[in-house]
Amino acid sequence: MELFLQQVLSGVANGAIYASVALAIVMIYQAIHHLNFAQGEMAMFSTFIAWQLMQWGMPFWAALPVTVALSFAGGVAIERIVMKPIEHAPVLTHVVVFIALFTILNSAAGFIWDFTIKPFPTPFGTAPVLGNGLLSAHQAGMIAVVLVMLVLLYLFFRYTNTGLAMRAAAANPASARLVGIRVGWTTALGWGMASAIGSVAGMLIAPVVFLEPNMMLTILLYGFAGAVLGGLTSPAGAVLGGFIVGVVENLAGTYIPVVGPELKLPIALVLIVAVLVVKPSGLLGRRTVQRV
């Protein structure tokens, strides 16, 4: 029982990591109707920027907003400079551009900051808040920040005209232009927001896994899994999905004896695919039906 609780809690803590990435994924999905494979590397790069700012002597609470702002600008810039020229190209071409961005960011970060791991400070401290270090202050803080981001995103998409315009532009750009939506800018805004959310996610994650250019490599996969499990159209679903992935993965690794930790990732993924087969648009996602 003790072990069970511990594994659940540690799963929740990991889940917060996945959830924060999943939020960024949902954000970009709403803006471009696609998964951005470079999302993780963008977050990693942002986190390095924050680290660099602190190395130059900036205090954490100053580096944070500066980084978020820079990341937002960076996201907008990537959309305007890299994506704009191929906006009419087929979807798969976009995927390849994401991959190009991925390798560029990863390699550039390695070149500038090298590949050794670096500690990243947490604003919440590491004191245990629950049990015997089962949940540290940082992890609790991370969960709180994720929930706050979730509420903000939910409100944004649900109640603001900009959120509506963004969804419309992603769903049907031609019609969106006809009603006067500046599709180029909503898309860029979406990239900016996704990049900003990603930078927050990166700064939450780095204290846990240490900062290095490859830190998001596998986390991104879990983030995808969480977002997809919860439903790509639903921020709440993404967060829920992230937590579920974290917990299920731990429990599968601990309690499915033959499997053991070796296969915990495949098991978690198989579970997700199984859920999707039953509920094709994720747990909380809205199903869009086609008719003729």
Binding site: Q7, G11, N14, F115, P119, F210, I219, P261, L265
Partner: protein, 380 residues
Amino acid sequence: AQTAPGVTDTEIKIGNINPYSGPASAYGVIGKTIGAYFAKINAEGGVNGRKINYISYDDGYSPPKAVEQARKLVESDEVAIVFQPLGTPSNSAIQKYMNSKQVPQLFVATGATKWNDPKNFPWTMGWQPNYQTEGKIYGKYIADNLPNGKVGVIFQNDDYGKDLLKGLKDGLGAKAASMIIAEVPYEVSVPTIDSQIVQLKGSGADILVTIATPKFAAQVIRKVAELGWKPTHFLNNVAISVGAVIKPAGPENAKDILSTAYLKDATDPADKESPAFKEWEAFMDKYYPDGNKLDGSTVFGYAAAQTMVQVLKQAGKDLSRANIMKEAANLKNFEIGVLVDGIKVNTSPSDFAPIEQLQMQKFDGERWHRFGPVMSGESS
């Protein structure tokens, strides 16, 4: 011997394969350090009047790419030898090719045990102490000093982890089965190993053996501290860098950790003052100024390159592949300044394991202190 492949009157071509891109790119530093060291040798006039033409390719840690690069080095660049190709999978992939082509695959950068097999693979030789040796040393130490301990192991689920684990069990001997109460593997694809540590703590172990690469080792050290768990902690040698592991994990969390060493530590004040490190420091400043001095890989590459140069020196005029291999198998008490005092490089036609000794060490919260005798897997 003037007609030996890759060798002219003025130069010798040495090939190398390293993961400059991809998931293992952190190790690319080794390939770069070697290049820098050869540049230094060239600047100082080369070896026996020959300059070293060092050609290093990226395999992204992918075995098929390693095969392609190895073939390119051998068939297109026509190098004399391939030196320090990195990674067990990549070296496994090219081993048969190198041996059938009779091209030295010299001083490979991996600690797997299988490189010491002169009968079947006379053209392949390891360099660093192999993982089994290291594991045996921990096993012996535990069996001798903590005979009533309950051992929990976290290990990376690949051949490196399994090799080291096997050594540990051998070292524990007959007691292995009863003493090891939990073995928990982790995959390199996991973001954190928190769950594994929770599990190990839950098992009731009071000895923790961590067989993990730097990033995960740092996570282990920190998580153990966070959980308030106080086992006797053994940390494998690949993760002892103070700069790249202990500092990020928090030096206070690493107090009393036990490990082994064969290279001195650039961050250790005492080691730093040694003439060998002064030399190293000068080398880094001059030939590899962007290199991170806190990164132990730079010391590793520096030492490996010195071994290579020694072999070339010994080979003298005859730089045929066979002679290079012969001399590589004829290193006698060769000393490298950055190796732990007392550890010497020794090879023979039946012993293709150049470095076989390690010394135990303990972290005091600031730096490592080596203690006890220099040990090999067999002795001590």
